[in-house]
Amino acid sequence: MEQPQIDVAYIAKLAKLDLTVEETERFSADLNQVLGYVAQLEQWDTTDVPPMYHPLPVFDAVREDVPGTSLSNEAAVANAPAAEDGQFRVPKVVESAH
């Protein structure tokens, strides 16, 4: 595999992480080293090997569709950094029409 230089600034945007210039440089160096190492996976022949997403097969893991107890509204918002009237406060996300 051609070793790509990871574009940390772009990936940080996807991950919604506001990195400093110093962090971006440090992570670029660290992760390019890690990616150089993991490129060795190429050497293992995985033709016709199904990907393993889970250690053990689990099927039909659904419980009975019976309502149980849930967190109270008060408990659900108790950890919110900003809440009002039992609801989470968020910045305005819809622009007003001009």
């Binding site: 990871i6 990195l19 660290d30 995985t46 250690p55 689990v58 919110a80």
Partner: protein, 469 residues
């Protein structure tokens, strides 16, 4: 300094030699005396432990026994910070199922054990609440990520503790601190209320002073939970059933790939001692091969970071956790809250995980790693046709110094080579301490078993423990 196993203290409690309240007081005194130097705990709530002790039901199997809990396992009303600034003010609104089950067995959750932030680390140094010292080798790391759990038990500040193990985070600190640490089969213990790092790898388990205590805690912890769809419906039994039984005729595989010249001489010597003791006990040591042993670190760090980047997207500064001040719009709020709340290793892994899942790289990294994971699991399936157990090192070296030469992230990741396979394949594994010369750092050896074969695994582990002591 508090000594004595779960069975010792249960005996003291049931004979009336000590009351549950006195035991909580005794542990509190030990924490107050030793924690300032060791930093095994981030917080502890003596009042609620005393309230639980006052109502302790000594007829239950763990009645009146306080257990230290890693800071990423939710306890209702208690801080559950995952050693991260982002959860500094978080108090869990509910109990993890593991906690519910401990309480049902009579145990008292007491103390939030320090850890590497979000369980990402091998040395306990990635905690927003400071590094933890190793009571069994002062000035050295206790291992990680269940650093505080191991240090609390090794330092006489807890009788036993819960940790979580995603790539060795129970077994490796147990080895570095000279105690027993066990990762049960994936699915044995419900992950409900364990703050998710890598959901297909995470498993809760015990860190204890001996093998019997690990079995006693499994008795309380294991069982299906409808709140965790990946928890197993496999029947649970009395996990102490095999303790003290003969291991004559047991076939124990020694992977030739694990006898690396890169292992520290103390690790090699511990392995040789274990082989000799197991042979004396009548077990048959068989050389086996795990052909993909070399691939596990690469596959693991892709899979674990991919899952982590997804799991940690929930920390958005909206529903819980840290929120940055003075932000400009929703995207800025997310990006700055996360930047201020997460530490460097967590950020690094989120970036790596996001990268391997991103368009154009998914097949080369993530899909490839999942296929190699299948090959690793096939290696174990083939090995367990030949043998009943697998013996190996826990870590390539004893605990490094707390203030040592800086290692690169890759160098740190590579030391997980012997513990990662059990997580990739979902197997149960246990670290058993191997006695060292006075003043030497602790070293453990690791035993792996077939899926759901904990009773057998504990039988061999306890026989080995007996022969080593």
């Amino acid at each position: 300094m508090l000594n004595g196993s779960i069975s010792y203290w249960r005996n003291q409690l049931t004979t009336g030699a000590i009351t549950p309240t006195e035991l909580v007081e005794e542990i509190s005194r030990s924490i107050e005396a030793h924690n300032p130097a060791v930093n095994a705990y981030i917080s502890w709530d003596k009042e609620s432990a005393l309230a639980a002790a006052a109502k302790a039901d000594l007829s239950l199997p763990l009645g009146g026994i306080p257990i230290a809990i890693k800071d990423n396992i939710c306890i209702q009303g208690a801080p559950t910070r995952c050693a991260s600034r982002i959860l500094d003010n978080f108090r869990s609104p509910y109990d993890a199922t593991a906690i519910t089950r401990l309480r049902a067995a009579g145990a008292i959750p007491f103390g939030r054990a320090n850890m590497d932030e979000f369980a990402m680390g091998s040395f306990g140094k990635n905690s927003a609440y400071g590094a933890t010292d190793n009571p069994a080798a002062p000035g050295h790391v206790p291992g990680g990520s269940s650093s505080g759990s191991a240090a609390a038990v090794a330092g006489g500040m807890a009788i036993a503790a819960l940790g979580s193990d995603t790539g060795g985070s129970i077994r490796q600190p147990a080895s570095h601190c000279g105690i027993v640490g066990m990762k049960p089969t994936y699915g044995r213990v419900s992950r409900y209320g364990l703050v998710a790092f890598a959901s297909s790898l995470d498993q809760i388990g015990p860190l204890t002073q001996n093998v019997e205590d690990a079995a006693l805690l499994l008795n309380a912890l294991c069982g299906h939970d409808e709140k965790d769809s990946t928890s197993s419906t496999e029947p649970t039994t009395d996990f102490t059933a095999g303790l003290g039984q003969s291991i004559k005729g047991a076939r124990i595989g020694l992977p030739k790939e694990y006898l690396s010249e890169g292992n520290d001489p103390a690790v090699t010597a511990a392995l040789q001692t274990a082989v000799q003791k197991l042979t004396e006990l009548g077990a048959e040591i068989v050389e086996i091969s795990l052909p993909h042993a070399e691939a596990v670190v690469a596959a693991y760090y892709i899979i674990a970071c991919a899952e982590a980047s997804s799991n940690l997207s929930r920390f958005d500064g909206i529903r819980y956790g840290h929120r940055a001040e003075g932000t400009n719009g929703l995207d800025d709020l997310y990006s700055r809250s996360r930047a201020e709340g997460f530490g460097p290793e967590v950020k690094r892994r989120i970036i790596l995980g996001t990268y391997v899942l991103s368009s154009g790289f998914y097949d080369a990294y993530y899909a490839k790693a999942q296929k190699v994971r299948a090959l690793v699991a096939q290696d174990f399936a083939a090995a367990f046709e030949q043998v009943d157990f697998i013996l190996g090192p826990v870590a390539p070296t004893p605990a490094p110094a707390l203030e040592g030469a800086d290692m690169t992230p890759l160098q740190i990741y590579l030391a997980d080579i012997y513990t990662i396979p059990a997580n990739l394949a979902g197997l149960p594994g246990i670290s058993v301490p191997c006695p060292q010369a006075e003043g030497a750092r602790p070293v453990g050896v690791q035993l792996l078993g077939r899926h759901f074969a904990e009773v057998d695994l504990l039988r061999v582990a306890s026989a080995l423990e007996g022969a080593l002591s």
